[in-house]
């Protein structure tokens, strides 16, 4: 790019700073959620936080790591299962949720050791096989009693109101933690390495990017996040029926949220999750047609707008409010043409 005297490189623009301040204010309000909102709204918001976690972790894997998995329900289900197991073993219930997420993340390290050596569609379906196998093995546990399932009995010790508030806070804290963690990862060396791998794996390796090690970290993070989301979903639903957690529908939701919001952007999946949450609220009761609509939307966005709503938005307004990359001031034309300021 030609150097011009009035060009400078910025990351945090004034508007971005203002945006972050307003985000913090929003977070502050949400932190007092159970005290401010009705019981129904509190429950719904807890679900929204789980959706955000699912969308963000799937996007980390596919949008940044280039790893499309149709088996993330494996981790969602294992997180919920381990939470039930740990709780039955005497671990107090909310720490058990976190522990279930961490343990699944560790387990993902072993799974990734094999699966990450697969490419493209082989990885995608291979993960689905892993999810099916995890489902079948969990069904064998006498505690789960096959498809009959079980429930997180330990939550009965809390009153309904206390349970609702605690679950809300747990989900909110987990979501914020995950968002901050993913943001930090993407802004750092690892994020740059990831995007290099996504764009061209062989070229990245030739530049000294440690491809497998980088994928490992992302896979583990995405698995742990999905597992934590599964454990939190269990806390909102209480009952654990394996087929409801190991259903490929969860991956369909993740793909919908990420694709519609914006694959490979930080903000996109969050927007997609809010949109999915709204759509579900409005049309979830219409059952099958609602699912057909979700599938059709995913298909349409994949074909005609693969960078989603947020991608379309940033093409028009290149300034990033949550900057992952750098912004060249005075080169708006070049940035708009290439959209290439995110490096």
């Amino acid at each position: 790019m030609m150097a011009a005297p009035d060009m400078r490189v910025e990351r945090w623009t004034r508007r971005a700073q203002g945006f972050v301040v307003s985000l913090l204010l929003l977070a502050l309000v949400l932190a007092f959620g159970p005290l401010l909102f009705s019981a129904g709204i509190t429950d719904r918001l807890s679900e929204l936080f789980v959706y955000v976690m699912l969308a963000v972790t799937w996007n980390l894997l596919a949008g940044y790591g280039g790893l499309v998995s149709v088996g993330q329900q494996a981790f969602f289900g294992l997180g919920a299962y381990l939470a039930v197991r740990l709780s039955a073993a005497g671990v107090s219930v909310y720490p058990a949720l976190l522990l279930a997420g961490l343990m699944t993340g560790a387990l993902a390290l072993a799974i990734g050791e094999v699966m990450l050596r697969l490419e493209g569609g082989e990885f995608a379906i291979g993960m689905w096989v892993v999810a099916e196998l995890a489902h079948l093995l969990v069904n064998l546990d006498p505690l789960v009693q096959g498809e009959t399932g079980t429930s997180l009995i330990a939550l009965d010790a809390f009153s309904a109101a206390a349970r609702r508030a605690d679950t809300y806070w747990a989900a909110f804290a987990a979501m914020v933690l995950l968002l901050v963690l993913v943001f930090a990862v993407l802004r750092g060396r690892l994020g740059t390495a990831l995007q290099a791998i996504r764009d061209d794996e062989i070229a990245a390796a030739s530049l000294g990017v440690r491809v497998l090690a980088t994928k490992r970290v992302v896979f583990m993070l995405a698995a742990g996040g999905a597992a934590l989301a599964g454990a939190l979903w269990l806390a909102t639903a209480i009952t654990f029926q394996p087929h409801a957690y190991f259903s490929v529908q969860w991956t369909a939701y993740m793909i919908f949220m990420t694709l519609v919001g914006g694959l490979g952007t930080f903000e996109g999946p969050v927007i997609g999750a809010v949109l999915f949450f709204t759509v579900e609220w409005l049309f979830g009761a219409s059952g099958v047609w609602y699912l057909i609509g979700l599938g059709a939307a995913a298909l349409g966005f994949a074909l005609f707008a693969p960078r989603g709503l947020w991608g379309a938005f940033t093409e028009r307004f290149p300034e990033r409010l949550l900057p992952l990359g750098y912004h060249v001031v005075g080169a708006r034309a070049a940035a708009a043409a290439g959209g290439g300021e995110e490096r």
Binding site: G121, E132, G295, A302
Partner: protein, 308 residues
Amino acid sequence: MIFLNQCLQGIFLGAYYALIACSLSFLFGVMRIINLAHGSLAVLAAFLLFVLADRYGLSPWLGLVLVIPVMAALGFLLQILVLERSLKGGLLVPLLSTFGLAIVIDNLLFQGFGADTRSLAPYIGDLSFASWSLSDDITVGQLDVIILAAAVALLGGLQLFLARTRLGRTIRATAEAPEIVGLIGIDARAVYALSTALAMALATVAGAFLALRATFNPYSGGMQLLFAFEAVVIGGFGSLWGTLIGGILLGVAQNLGAFVNPHGFLIAGHGFFLAILIARLYLGPRLARLRLARLRPRRPRPHAARPA
């Protein structure tokens, strides 16, 4: 002897897997994409046959004559409307678009037919249970023998078609270098569309056999995709015959799993698949290059090299 019978039934089951797998691997060989809607499309074909048999009293065998061209035309449309555009979008887009398509197909089928489990077995008379007894414990279903024969004939036919005919050579050339075949007067888009149509015709036969020998419902597609994929990976290296062997090994593994434990059928199948995968990834540099079945054995393409 019961053990032997389980193995034998596994071989027959594997013939079905090989059939559903061969079109998946054929399409992957031509365009380098895995169609995640593959199983759902086979189940769609099964439902079309079911409607013809149930509502119009048409025998499934005659129904196939009608449904195969319809599904081939659908395949043509699938290529023009979905896959062609997806291919331009990079490596991820075909997976996302075909997954979205699978959700649409599954739920449309559910909307149209409800959750009931169906089968075509009631529409083929005695054939659904007629069998030959080889000994006290070993019986061979006549339908199973037909399916095995059809699988061998179709896989062999596809192999011959690709190896010997002019169109087969054209498809192979396009698979090898889609950008270059234009120079010798081949329209890669037309070849792709034709290949997808052919793959859908094969998937229709597979869907018919699924419906004839077992049961299906609107959400059966996902599992058929997994079985097809497992058969391809287990058979792995080399030709379409590898796919037949892969399908049979998968079927035998599943039946032996069921022999050991009532829950063992699927666990053994998935477990066997993963074991083969791990063995192939860690044993030997030659086997480490995991690839879906190629159209024929050949040297590795330059971009097939993977960084360690």
